[in-house]
Symmetry: C2
Subunit: 297 residues, 2 copies
């Protein structure tokens, strides 16, 4: 997987955190590594704490592709309103991330499954070009790239198996309000699978002309929603990477459910605290209860 590694300062109604471990690459990897080994490709500055590195290494995440550059690590500062839905950015310091130009080693290029987190679509394309015939490629994106680099993004989409987007991004990309129609338009651009993330409204899976909607797992105390989408993608992709064949509706539905469950843990504490101490037993327990809650006898 390729994405951002960040130090996040976040404030919500439940408290705050300063320069905590964050970024799409971190949230994704912490989640995906519950299912399969993850090789993270990213960049940090010289200020990146050694204990964060050890923390991730302990979770089955290979950091050989996490380059250290002179300067400071990407830093994001933000807060959430009472509803915990919309992030307000107070400051974004790209720092070394501004010069991020991923170079894959042979071990990285040989990976069978690739996740391109939300970065410049030209960089995503460049990374994909360095890969040696991966069997499954997924990407994420955001409103910023849809506005500024739509052409590059559309070119990339013709080469990926799966796109993760949220509701508004799906609408912005297709100029279509209805999500079923929007997903059909995106499928026409290339991806066989489209996953629309809808926050506490759940998620939708589009594959083979079919649509499946799944609810979010209700959470009584949402402490910090930062990284929930990447944690969802991590659970989904990790499960898929560990499955023999992704061309199977049941596999995709289980991947959706694991993504849902992983993101439900993620929001229960700041940064990757909850996912970082999550046991496989707790994960499977919540998964089984979620699946049972959806089973109508």
């Amino acid at each position: 997987m390729v994405g951002s590694v960040a130090l996040d300062s976040v404030k919500t109604v439940y408290g705050r955190t300063e320069r905590a471990l964050g970024g799409s690459a971190v949230h994704f990897s912490m989640s995906a590594s519950q299912f399969a080994p993850v090789k993270l490709v990213g960049v940090v500055g010289e200020d990146f704490p050694a204990n964060f590195r050890r923390f991730m290494n302990r979770r089955n995440i290979c950091l050989k592709g996490m380059q250290v550059m002179p300067g400071k690590t990407f830093h994001w500062k933000g807060r959430y309103d009472r509803g915990l839905k919309n992030a307000v950015t107070i400051a974004t310091h790209l720092n070394v991330f501004e010069y991020f130009k991923p170079k894959l080693s042979d071990t990285h290029s040989a990976c069978g499954v690739l996740f391109l987190a939300n970065i410049d679509p030209d960089l995503q394309w460049d990374v994909l070009g360095q890969m040696d015939k991966p069997r499954f490629v997924a990407c994420d994106t955001m409103n910023y790239w849809i506005s500024l680099k739509k052409k590059s993004l559309v070119k990339l989409l013709s080469k990926v198996n799966l796109l993760f987007v949220n509701e508004e991004e799906a609408r912005q990309l297709t100029k279509e309000h209805n999500l079923i129609k929007a997903a059909r338009l995106i499928a026409g651009m290339g991806p066989q699978i489209i996953v629309i993330k809808r926050g506490d409204s759940g998620s939708m899976l589009f594959y083979g002309g079919e649509v499946i909607s799944m609810p979010a797992r209700p959470i009584e105390k949402v402490v910090d929603p930062t990284g929930a989408g990447d944690t969802f993608a991590g659970g989904f992709m990790g499960y898929l990477a560990a499955s023999p064949d992704w061309r199977n509706f049941n596999v995709l539905k289980r991947a959706m459910a694991y993504g849902t469950v992983m993101s439900s843990f993620s929001v229960e504490d700041f940064s990757v605290k909850r996912v970082g101490k999550l046991s496989k037993a707790d994960m499977h327990d919540r998964y089984n209860k979620y699946v049972k809650s959806l089973s109508i006898q």
Copy 2:
């Protein structure tokens, strides 16, 4: 069931309708009568079209409790924005509905199941007092009554088994943003069951300390969302009325799923057009597909 019968003029991006059959009593009854016979208690004016009366009679709805008063039928005129989520009221003419004071006959009082649609909580209380030991009572309400007659509403809630509310009403009633906590506070007011309707984000069921979240059934062409909530309640209550015991989680989950499916038909056309011509076969077919889509093997 007791509620409003209206003539609705609605405009959406897909077209418009003039003085079409509407009101909570109509949407609820058209949906519930797919499962069980319904006795409607309401009021109309002398202008109420005879063909609307025949239309409902044909659908297993008894209209002996639909009083005709001198004057005009309740008329609502509104439109929806592009997202089809928020109704903008252009005009509300209460007409005869302003003087609505339901009087139940012995046949009505003897009903085992009662649904009190969204009307003045003092009237809901009055109707409940006229009933002869119903085995199950549910009610709906709205922001207007929560603001103006909270005391009356809270008194009513101590006597009902189930409350249907939407997200914002649940929050307004309890001053609690989190829906799990809000439902717990409402349960403390009396209802054993709370159903929170969330539009295209699905619905949540609270019963016996447990919470179940269900997704909306994705719809490609939402023509008119008017009455979707009452249609949901109708499917839920109709299914429950036809079941031997409501104190059963599986029965309640099936009721939720039927409510979801009925409301998904409702929004596909104006007024009660789609539900009015719905066959039992089409209903069960969509129900079975919905249940299957949620089954994760």
